[in-house]
């Protein structure tokens, strides 16, 4: 089981939305400031660069829509990672589960011939199911044989990539006759309908938002979610109190896989309309950072994903002012680094406040609650 400092911080912020939001933005500002030297290195100036970034990501309606489009897979992937983390599991295999989900969704979309009303749901659900299935073996090995999920999920990533390449290689089961290393277009009935004519926003976004609510609800508002977090916090205690630890671990990892599969399916059925071998540039790996940046809370993940969506959408603008694709990766790396540092900053802030309160109304210990509530877990 991997312990999560992040969770403590999440508790620290849960009851301070403004502080957390504020500090999040503050951190981003710091990160962007830290990237300034790189911007000069690339031969332009921050104003131009960040102007371009903003224009490209939130400048107009289309830019905004692109941000949303880019953020969607990151959001759902981030939720997947977060769900597993809450059960004390590190699902580093989201990437593979996402790929398999896309494959399965495409397979259904291309090969089955169903009435539109059912075709789409079937395709989406198959994608999610495939993701869950891809996580099932690591889950079972973890629960019953204690095999570390990190090893198995990494292996299953490579297996997923192999499978995908095999299926769309010439003569492969899904391969298209006209388009290399891709499947044929899925039936129109299986497409996630676009939400507007002019932009690429598709109804996968709605699925993502639904996922945010569902995961939040499951984790913090249902007994099952409580048990899941219990297992993450202390499996032995959990088992002593009637929680089927193995069952929960398997459930959690497969649930995580299902979300990953959903992310893949929504890209394929929503954005591309056919399976493309390299449709994921590593969403599953970025999702790890996003989940932890979001302090494992659904809303936090939403915020983190939105920011990375902005970077991705703004990257074209940045290139137009001479900042290369690679430098953009560096910038996002810096952001992640600063966000990693953020909890420390907030922690320091909260501690100082407590100290002040303590010395303020020092004598009686009962002065604590209001304040220490800041560390409260969601129950």
């Amino acid at each position: 089981m991997i312990r999560l400092p992040a969770i403590k911080i999440q508790q620290g912020l849960s009851s301070r939305p403004f502080l957390s939001a504020g500090s999040f933005l503050g951190t981003l500002a710091l990160a962007l400031a830290a990237a300034v030297p790189l911007i000069y290195l690339a031969g332009t100036d921050p104003v131009t660069a960040y102007g371009a970034l903003l224009r490209g990501s939130v400048g107009d309606q289309y830019a905004l829509s692109e941000t949303v489009v880019q953020a969607t897979p990151l959001l759902v992937g981030g939720l997947a990672v977060a769900l597993a983390f809450h059960a004390g599991l590190f699902n580093i295999g989201v990437e593979g589960q996402l790929v398999v989900g896309g494959l399965a969704a495409a397979a259904v979309g291309v090969n089955l011939d169903l009435p539109a009303a059912v075709h789409l749901p079937v395709a989406v659900l198959t994608g999610a199911a495939a993701g869950a299935a891809w996580a099932a073996i690591p889950a079972v090995l973890k629960a019953w044989r204690g095999v570390h999920e990190v090893v198995t999920t990494i292996m299953f990533n490579y297996l997923a990539f192999g499978l995908s390449r095999h299926l769309v290689a010439p003569g492969g089961g899904l391969a298209s006759a006209t388009q290399p290393s891709a499947s044929d277009p899925v039936a129109d009935g299986a497409r996630l309908p676009a939400l507007t004519e002019t932009t690429r926003i598709h109804s996968g976004v709605l699925l993502a938002v639904a996922a945010v609510i569902a995961v939040g609800w499951f984790l913090y508002r249902t007994p099952a979610g409580f048990k899941l977090r219990m297992v993450g916090a202390n499996p032995t205690t959990a088992s002593f109190h009637g929680v089927g630890v193995r069952r929960v671990q398997i459930g959690a990892l497969m649930g995580s896989g299902a979300l990953a599969g959903l992310a893949g399916a929504s890209e394929i059925l929503g954005l591309y309309g056919r399976y493309l071998d390299s449709f994921s540039p590593g969403y599953g790996f970025q999702a790890i950072a996003i989940a932890l940046m979001g302090m494992l809370t659904p809303l936090g993940v939403l915020a983190a994903a939105a920011f990375f969506g902005m970077l991705a959408a703004g990257s074209v603008g940045l290139q137009s002012v001479g900042i290369s694709r690679e430098l953009i990766n560096v910038v996002s790396g810096l952001v992640v680094g600063f966000v990693a540092a953020q909890p420390a900053l907030i922690g320091a802030y909260l501690r100082r406040r407590r100290k002040r309160q303590a010395s303020g109304q020092g004598e009686d210990a009962s002065a604590a609650p209001a304040d220490v509530d800041a560390r409260s877990a969601h129950v």
Binding site: Y62, E66, V69, Q70, G162, R165, A169, P170, T178, Q179, P180, S181, R200, E267, L271, Y272, G273, R274, L276, S278, F279, S280, P281, A312, A313, S315, V316, G317, Q319, S320, S324, R325, I328, N329
Partner: protein, 334 residues
């Protein structure tokens, strides 16, 4: 920008009067430095900028999902033409080209067709007949090998890679029926260390010539040959990369992407741009073999190559481009 202001057909309305030219390139997700068509495409737009005036701009895509916005951006910035390299961009180009009928697109390694399967008038889809180039390379290899064992190192099994392979095999069959080509793939286009391992394996298995179609991974192949020293050869792809292994560089099956892009841009500059599928091969001198190394070749090999070039160019020989065409291919003395 120029693209929007037109009215004419076949996208020629996008008059170039609207200021200096802008030759844009949108890469696929591998981006520049892929030792393949992205780098060649960049070369193409830069050469265009030199010989036709105006400036070149390159937009690199970080992922599949950035193709469309990048193309949009290229159009919006008023490009005279937008070049997109790689089959992966086919869908994206189709989508954007439909939305901007007055902008001109050059799509390398694929064609853009509408729902009816009819190709778009404002997209020039360039398809190279790599197999013809590889055919010549195969002939040279077949004649050069001493062990009658040849190796192939591919990146990923893509149609274009397969065309290279089958052409090469046909060429070998043509020149030296008793020689055989063994194939293997890296699984990606970047892992040069594995590329080296694979090439070494070929050499260990007795091959003395390896044909690499593995992009960055191919670098390992040259290195493997160099460590072997003289006596083993590498056949390259796309361009002459002799500097990578001067003593072991047999030749390369070249593919003149820059030239093709330049020609389309020229047409655009002259207002003669036409869309549709454009197939380029030996006849168009758009593919061929690296001749910088010919000095080292015996005369009979050279004129064998010349004859083959003739035959293929004139259509006397049709080079197979898929495995089953290959199985039906019978060497004919040119």
């Amino acid at each position: 920008g120029g693209g929007e202001s037109g009215n004419g057909t076949a996208g020629n309305g996008g008059s170039t009067a609207g200021g200096p030219h802008l030759w844009s390139l949108v890469t696929d997700a591998n981006g520049l430095g892929d030792q393949g068509f992205n780098d060649l495409g960049k070369q193409g737009v830069e050469e265009s900028a030199e010989s036709l005036g105006g400036k070149a701009s390159v937009i690199q895509s970080g992922s599949q999902s950035q193709f469309v916005p990048n193309l949009q951006q290229a159009v919006a910035s008023g490009s005279t033409t937008v070049t997109a390299v790689g089959f992966a961009l086919a869908d994206a180009v189709t989508q954007v080209a439909k939305a901007h009928p007055n902008s001109r697109f050059i799509l390398v390694d694929a064609v853009a067709v509408d729902a009816a399967g009819k190709s778009l008038p404002n997209v020039a889809g360039i398809r190279f007949r790599e197999h013809e180039a590889a055919f010549l390379a195969g002939i040279i290899a077949g004649k050069t090998t001493k062990t009658n064992k040849l190796g192939f190192v591919g990146g990923v099994e893509l149609p274009s890679v397969v065309r290279f392979l089958t052409g090469f095999q046909a060429g070998v069959k043509q020149a030296n029926p008793s020689a055989s080509v063994r194939t293997a793939y890296l699984g990606n286009f970047n892992d040069s260390a594995k590329g080296k391992g694979l090439a070494t394996a070929h050499f260990d298995a007795g091959a003395d010539i390896v044909f690499e179609v593995a992009g960055g991974g191919g670098l390992g192949v040259y290195d493997a040959a160099k460590t072997r020293g003289p006596g083993v050869w590498v056949v390259g792809t796309d361009t002459c990369k002799q500097r990578l292994a001067p003593d072991n560089y047999l030749t390369a099956a070249t593919k003149d992407v820059p030239g093709a892009v330049l020609r389309q841009n020229q047409a655009a500059a002259d207002g003669k741009f036409t869309g549709g599928e454009i197939s380029l091969g030996l006849a168009e001198k758009a593919v061929g073999v690296c001749e910088e190394t010919f000095a080292g070749l015996p005369a009979e090999v050279k004129d064998l190559v010349e004859k083959a070039k003739e035959a293929v160019g004139s259509g006397k020989i049709t080079v197979p481009s898929t495995p089953d065409e290959l199985s039906r291919f019978t060497p004919t003395a040119p």
